[in-house]
């Protein structure tokens, strides 16, 4: 049958980031999809040769602007583990607060983009409008809206005053109410459900086999979340991973929607239990040895492999981001879909190409 072959990306209005898919379609049904990467590849892991391990904090934070804070946290945890540094409690809680705020903004951002992928402009705008409040919190408490730069090896760089905590709490109440008001639209609207239910199905077995991570994994019914590893202050917070069983785009959306609210709740818990104390400890010595650390990013499990050699520069810094893990499932999901579903399914794994390629 007659086939249309088209390039989907690297520049494409529905793709916020450059990824390329060579799509072959018949009557708009995808018969073949082949990805091409490399449009965002910088090779920043290699910078560890010429930047010391402290400077690397700022660099790994810029792996991605959406999940930056958590990158820095994961990296710092790795170095701290390697060097045997015990981070003060208050710093641990603060790390949770900011990282969960990051998740909230990332998920709101995604919910908007996802709505945009199926052409629901008003919903997109609504989510992004809500998100601005979270961005304000980021900016007010850290000095930048996106790249917050609050982590350092040994602790955090900024503190939250009691007044700020109250303000955050109040703002988050508004955010929560507004997000809740959109639940019916996001998860129960007829047109939205038509576009997401049963689209891009990934069974739990497939998800495991293809190494899916994060909401993509949890949307397929596997309740695995790195926060269960109880890093930072998660050992002192109530947390249960969220999962939905269907494995379709709708489930992944539902996971993220629920996680948004859950993260708001986690921020509140952490603020309520925030202990007094130091913000950071002085770090002495040079990193040596090997360590693997994992944390939960908005998009899923993030793994850092760090190898120090006793100098200020690391020997190897390897970052495995969740989107990197979610690309193979994506490639498997695409064939058989309609062309119009391609952006929906691509977005449904919440692809972050700059994370993927670093």
């Amino acid at each position: 049958m007659a086939q249309t072959i088209l390039p989907f990306g690297p520049q494409h209005p529905v793709l916020p980031e450059p990824i390329h898919l060579k799509l072959t379609v018949e009557d708009e049904i995808v018969v073949d999809a082949l990805p091409a990467l490399g449009y965002v590849h910088r090779g920043l892991e290699k910078l560890c040769d010429i930047r010391d391990y402290n400077q690397m904090v700022q660099i790994v934070e810029r792996v991605c602007g959406i999940c930056s804070k958590i990158h820095a946290m994961c990296y710092c945890q790795g170095i701290e583990e390697m060097m045997g540094v015990e981070v003060p409690d208050r710093a641990k809680f603060l790390r949770v607060i900011w990282s969960e705020l990051h998740r909230v903004h990332s998920h709101l951002l995604w919910l908007g983009l996802f709505a945009d992928a199926f052409g629901f402009e008003a919903l997109f705008y609504q989510f992004w409008k809500i998100r601005e409040k979270v961005m304000d919190i980021n900016e007010a408490t850290t000095g930048n809206r996106v790249i917050v730069s609050v982590n350092q090896v040994g602790g955090v760089r900024r503190d939250l005053s009691a007044e700020q905590l109250r303000w955050i709490d109040a703002e988050l109440k508004v955010v929560e109410a507004q997000v809740r008001a959109l639940r019916a639209t996001t998860l129960d609207d007829y047109t939205v459900k038509k576009r997401t239910k049963g689209i891009g199905v990934l069974s739990s077995a497939q998800a495991m086999e293809l190494g899916a991570a994060g909401p993509t994994l949890r949307g397929s019914g596997v309740a695995q979340d790195m926060r269960q590893l109880k890093y930072a202050a998660f050992d002192r917070l109530d947390f249960q991973p969220i999962s939905y069983p269907d494995g379709d785009s709708w489930s992944r959306c539902a996971v993220r929607y629920d996680e948004t609210l859950q993260s708001i709740d986690l921020v509140r818990q952490a603020m309520a239990r925030l202990p007094e104390g130091e913000l950071s400890v002085k770090v002495k010595g040079k990193p040596e040895g090997e360590v693997v650390t994992r944390v939960e990013q908005p998009r899923g499990e993030l793994l850092y492999y760090l190898k120090g050699n006793g100098t200020n520069n690391l020997d190897r810094c390897r970052i495995r981001t969740p989107t990197f893990a979610n690309i193979p499932p994506l490639v498997v999901m695409l064939p058989g879909l309609e062309l119009a579903d391609v952006p929906v399914v691509v977005l449904s794994i919440d692809p972050c190409i700059s994370c993927t390629e670093r």
Binding site: Q11, P16, P18, Y39, K46, G65, L109, E132, S354
Partner: protein, 147 residues
């Protein structure tokens, strides 16, 4: 006739359609660019629409570091824009390569590939700064004649 030409000229700065290209940015700049379009900043007030298609765009907003693969894309897109056109580079990466200047696969800033009309520093710049950048770009846009 003159009145029509004047109207066309004055319309130019009232209707800048922009295209945003993520040229290897970390997303920080991209999401701030996108935020400009959203209700809180709403650049459609100035007639700005994100068209996502070089053939319709007047302003190309580029963020991120240039690498060997995306520089061709960047050049392609620039070429496909009809004159007059302006380029706004945003973020440290777009300006010079930022923290990644010395990373192995980085060529440098946007102006290594295409001429840049406005530079917006920051990492990432705030949406307001991006609006400033577009405004500066528009001034140049108005000056450019149909080449």
């Amino acid at each position: 006739m003159q009145a029509i030409l004047d109207f066309i000229k004055s319309s130019r700065i009232k209707s800048p359609w922009l295209m945003h290209f993520d040229c290897g940015s970390c997303n920080g700049c991209d999401i701030e660019t996108l935020a400009c379009l959203t209700p809180v900043y709403d650049v459609e007030r100035f007639g700005i629409v994100n068209v996502g298609n070089p053939k319709h765009a007047d302003i190309l907003i580029v963020s991120g570091t240039v690498n060997h693969r995306n520089k061709k894309v960047l050049a392609n897109l620039y070429e496909q824009m009809p004159h007059p056109k302006v380029v706004v580079a945003i973020g440290a990466c777009g300006l010079s390569g930022g923290v990644f200047r010395e990373a192995p696969n980085v060529v440098g800033g946007i102006d290594k590939v295409i001429p840049v009309d406005a530079y917006v520093p920051g990492c990432p710049p705030k949406p307001e700064a991006i609006i400033d950048g577009v405004v500066l770009g528009l001034q140049k846009f108005a000056e450019k004649s149909l080449a």
